[in-house]
């Protein structure tokens, strides 16, 4: 490595946008610091005790007006900076719909990554260059935070809820992956690398992974093993809602609300079944919190999501 880097690598589509805001703030800060330091030191020298600089009546401009002037100037500057940063933030909220979906589990003290193909990695994440990637993340124990400095990406990974982040890698290479939220004794060992591969290399890498079921197929097995299939089947012993085509649909609930059956809804319905009971059904489903592991949950949810594609021709 030649020399000391003063600027982090820019390896995602988001990185130049963040850096533009950062650079503008640097310029604004430099101007203000020079202004304050220049005035302060200039006054301190010119008006040092015993100097001959005139000190008579203050010019009229240095009265209430200037005070109101710099208050409004700072307020407008603050509003402008907010507007710019806020617009950039909102533009990056929604991932593109065709993004490659990769699941991440944080646990003390490792990252577990599952690709849609079923390939599994520890403390590593291989992603294709130029393709949007959406990370769907959860934690098994405490809060972790998925941090890739080169992508300007950070998202806490929280037990009991799904968090999401997305990026499009723009530079092939290997980058640091850190846990950024203090997560216990070996927090600083919870790091790995993100490998950005050109699409053909990514395909090659993906094929080289041990053959196995994909995530949804693994989920179908877990669906049976956990006993879900016992009730959620047409003509089963218990009156339970069918799940085919559920994902992405509006669901009417017993208390009159309507909710979107997204991933968080599917997951919550497994862990906290009495929270959102579907209209026309009795709240008889037991909670699977503590029964299904985080990895099993992810597989079952992936299976339920795959049923949409199967159901809609």
């Amino acid at each position: 490595m030649g020399g000391v880097a003063l600027w982090p690598a820019q390896a995602s589509a988001e990185a130049p946008r963040v850096d533009a805001i950062f650079s503008l703030l640097l310029v604004v800060s430099a101007v203000i610091i020079l202004l304050v330091a220049g005035l302060l030191l200039g006054f301190a020298i010119r008006y040092r005790r015993g100097s001959k600089a005139p000190r008579g009546r203050l010019p009229a401009i240095l009265s209430r007006d200037i005070e109101i002037g710099w208050t409004s100037a700072t307020a407008f500057l603050a509003l402008f900076l907010f507007w710019w940063a806020g617009a950039a933030q909102l533009a990056a909220v929604q991932p593109p719909p065709q993004a490659l979906e990769i699941r991440v589990i944080g646990r003390q003290w490792m990252w577990e990554v599952r690709h849609p193909s079923g390939a599994r990695e520890l403390d590593e994440l291989h992603v294709p260059l130029g393709e949007p990637v959406r990370l769907v993340m959860s934690a098994e124990d405490v809060i972790h935070s998925f941090f890739v400095p080169a992508f300007r990406l950070k998202q806490d990974v929280v037990p009991g809820r799904l968090t999401e982040a997305w990026f499009t890698a723009t530079q092939p290479g290997e980058y640091h992956l850190f846990c950024a939220e203090f997560c216990g004794t070996e927090h600083s060992a919870m790091r790995g690398r993100v490998v950005v591969l050109p699409p053909e290399d990514y395909a090659r890498w993906s094929h080289a992974q041990p053959e196995g079921d994909n995530l949804a197929q693994q989920g179908a097995k877990a669906f049976v093993a956990l006993g879900c299939a016992g009730c959620h089947v047409a003509g089963g012993p218990v009156h339970a809602p069918g799940l085919a085509g559920l994902y992405g649909r509006q669901v009417a609930l017993a208390d009159g609300r309507r909710v979107m059956a997204d991933e968080a809804y599917l997951r919550d319905s497994i862990l906290l079944p009495r929270q959102d009971v579907v209209a026309g059904y009795d709240p008889v489903m037991p909670s699977f919190a503590g029964v299904a592991s985080e990895a099993e949950l992810q597989r079952v949810v992936a299976y339920l999501m795959s049923l949409r594609e199967a159901a809609t021709p």
């Binding site: 000391v4 880097a5 003063l6 600027w7 982090p8 963040v18 805001i21 703030l25 604004v28 800060s29 203000i32 610091i33 304050v36 330091a37 005035l39 302060l40 006054f43 008006y47 040092r48 005790r49 015993g50 600089a53 005139p54 009546r57 203050l58 240095l62 009265s63 209430r64 005070e67 710099w70 208050t71 700072t74 907010f82 940063a85 806020g86 950039a88 933030q89 909102l90 990056a92 405490v142 809060i143 941090f147 400095p149 300007r152 950070k154 998202q155 806490d156 929280v158 009991g160 850190f178 846990c179 950024a180 939220e181 203090f182 216990g184 004794t185 927090h187 600083s188 060992a189 503590g290």
Partner: protein, 559 residues
């Protein structure tokens, strides 16, 4: 500002009676209700805690000298930074200026005999010491590794160590804070001398008033959040546990609802101190007195509404982030106003460069950098990248250490002659002030850069590419440690060998300078009467006139 007529019948000894000579036994100190003695008691306790927190900081900087974890174990390192955070925040920075300088000076500055509730004042010291004992027990029993933030579920279900004792210590210390806050509010409302109207109060008193309101409103929320943590960890009540439908983010909201205002608890008193120092050594009225007051009031109100900017990556809704981002930009405005006003107070002054003024100039510089980097953290896309990295560590140290600790040292030097009756050695003090500024910048500026490069905080081993920045920071910390220790040495020396100060060595305005140094037990021989505003360092017509003209019928005019 006022005339204090000394009682002509008072005995003329060699030294006038002072609060220091009012009693020499240990008992006379431990049962005192004199606000000045209680301030001294607090000062001794805070010095001890500053040493403990400082030793932890030294261990951290030593460990980070190399990328590998070699000096401490991972657990030892985590315990060191948790100890550093807990002690420095709750046992040094939050109480620092209010309980020492505030306790000592507020009654003197408003012309009162004592605080409104002298016994509550002493009680708050005992509560603080009880909390300190609990904290000391926590340390001796091995410490905790949760970070000062006590995030769940780490603190409730996963961390080893004495989390209950540590949270209990902070919980108890909160009552001491609240008692001091209530006392200051009551004192400023009810104990002002005749003629001391609200807009004649020195800005230091305004700083104490606004900070007390923040303390009284925010601390109960922290107490509640800590109780919930203790209930979950100690009694097994599932409050934040996601397995039982709880939400770890709820704790973060409660915690930051206190802990962001806590930053203003640390910095508002400094604003007051700096205004006193700048006016005295520039021989100028403060530029824009009323705006300075409104800026402090604005900060103390809007400061309550920005806590969510600590949680932009926590999983909170993007739209909530947007609102908190907006409010965080809004709260930057009054801080900027204060910096501009201090700067223009220099304009057309007669500026002297005694040590307190050097501390004040250093404060303005470091606070400006700290405040501007706050804008980076208020911008959501930038915050996502730099939060939980060393950028944040640098930012809040610039405000809380470069800002608040510089102001504390500056204020301590300025009022040292009043507190002890002795002058400190000026040349040494100037050297220490300059060294503190450069030592600080040397320590914390590299952290901005390595944070931007991606170095996460709370890492005990780290990738080798960050080593150069850590080495620079550790080397700067050595200078900084020296700059903190040096004043302790010469100030202690001056207690015995320093020249006698006289009543008003700085020719400062302000009621505290109109009484003897050190002041007598009840502060003033006769009740002061106030007829004019603060900082009358020069004729009114050559100074900034911002406020309304003084009313014709002056309150409390001399009879």
């Amino acid at each position: 500002m006022s005339e204090v007529a000394f009682d002509p019948t008072a005995p003329h000894g060699v030294h006038p009676p002072s609060y220091l000579t009012a009693g020499h036994t240990l008992r006379s100190w431990l049962t005192t209700t004199d606000h000045k003695r209680i301030a001294i008691l607090y000062m001794l306790a805070l010095t001890l805690f500053f040493f403990i927190g400082g030793i932890a900081a030294a261990l951290i900087r030593l460990e980070l000298f190399t990328p590998a974890g070699d000096l401490l174990t991972a657990e030892g390192y985590n315990r060191a930074f948790t100890l550093h955070g807990v002690i420095m925040v709750w046992f040094f920075l939050v109480p620092s200026i209010p309980v020492t300088l505030g306790n000592f000076l507020v009654p003197l500055m408003i012309g009162a005999e004592d605080m409104a509730f002298p016994r509550l004042n002493l009680l708050s010291w005992y509560i603080f010491m009880a909390a300190g004992l609990l904290a000391a027990f926590t340390i001796l029993a091995g410490g905790v590794e949760t970070g000062w933030t006590f995030y769940t579920p780490l603190a409730t279900a996963f961390a080893n160590g004495n989390v209950l004792a540590a949270a209990g210590a902070v919980f108890v210390a909160g009552f001491s804070s609240i008692a001091t806050g209530v006392n200051l509010i009551a004192t400023i409302h009810t104990q002002r001398a005749p003629g001391m109207t609200w807009f004649r109060l020195p800005l230091f008193v305004w700083g104490m008033y606004t900070v007390s309101i923040v303390i009284v409103l925010a601390t109960p929320v922290l107490a509640m959040a800590l109780l919930l943590i203790m209930a979950e960890r100690g009694l097994g009540l599932p409050i934040f546990d996601p397995a039982h439908g709880g939400d770890p983010l709820l704790f973060q909201h409660l915690f930051w609802f206190y802990s962001h205002p806590a930053v203003y608890i640390m910095i508002l008193p400094s604003f007051g101190v700096i205004s006193e120092l700048v006016t005295c050594f520039a021989r100028r009225r403060i530029f824009g007195y009323e705006f300075m007051v409104y800026a402090m009031a604005w900060i103390s109100i809007v400061g309550f509404l920005v806590w969510g900017h600590h949680m932009f990556v926590s999983g909170m809704s993007s739209y909530a982030s947007l609102v908190f981002s907006f409010l965080s930009f809004v709260v930057a405005v009054p801080s900027a106003i204060k910096v501009f006003n201090w700067t223009f107070t220099f304009y057309r002054g007669e500026i002297g460069f005694a040590a307190p003024m050097l501390y004040a100039i250093g404060f303005i510089g470091l606070f400006t950098v700290g405040g501007l980097t706050g804008l980076f953290l208020a911008s959501v896309p930038v915050d996502v990248h730099v939060t939980d990295t060393y950028f944040v560590v640098a930012h809040f140290h610039y405000i809380m250490v470069g800002g608040a600790v510089s102001a504390f040292y500056g204020g301590l030097h300025f009022w040292w002659p009043k507190i002890t009756g002795r002058l400190y050695p000026e040349a040494w003090a100037r050297f220490a002030a300059v060294l503190m500024f450069f030592g600080f910048a040397f320590t914390f500026t590299p952290m901005f850069l390595m944070g931007f490069l991606g170095m996460p905080r709370r890492y005990y081993s780290y990738p080798a590419e960050f080593q150069i920045w850590h080495v620079l920071a550790s080397a700067g910390a050595l200078l900084l440690a020296f700059a903190y220790l040096l004043p302790m040495a010469y100030l202690a020396w001056s207690l015995r060998w320093g020249r006698r100060a006289g009543d008003n060595p700085w020719q400062a305005t302000g009621l505290e300078w109109s009484t003897t140094s050190p002041p007598p037990p009840h502060n003033f021989a006769t009740m002061p009467r106030v007829a004019e505003g603060p900082y009358l360092y020069h004729p009114a017509e050559t100074g900034p006139q911002h406020g309304q003209p003084e009313p014709e019928q002056k309150q409390g005019d001399h009879p």
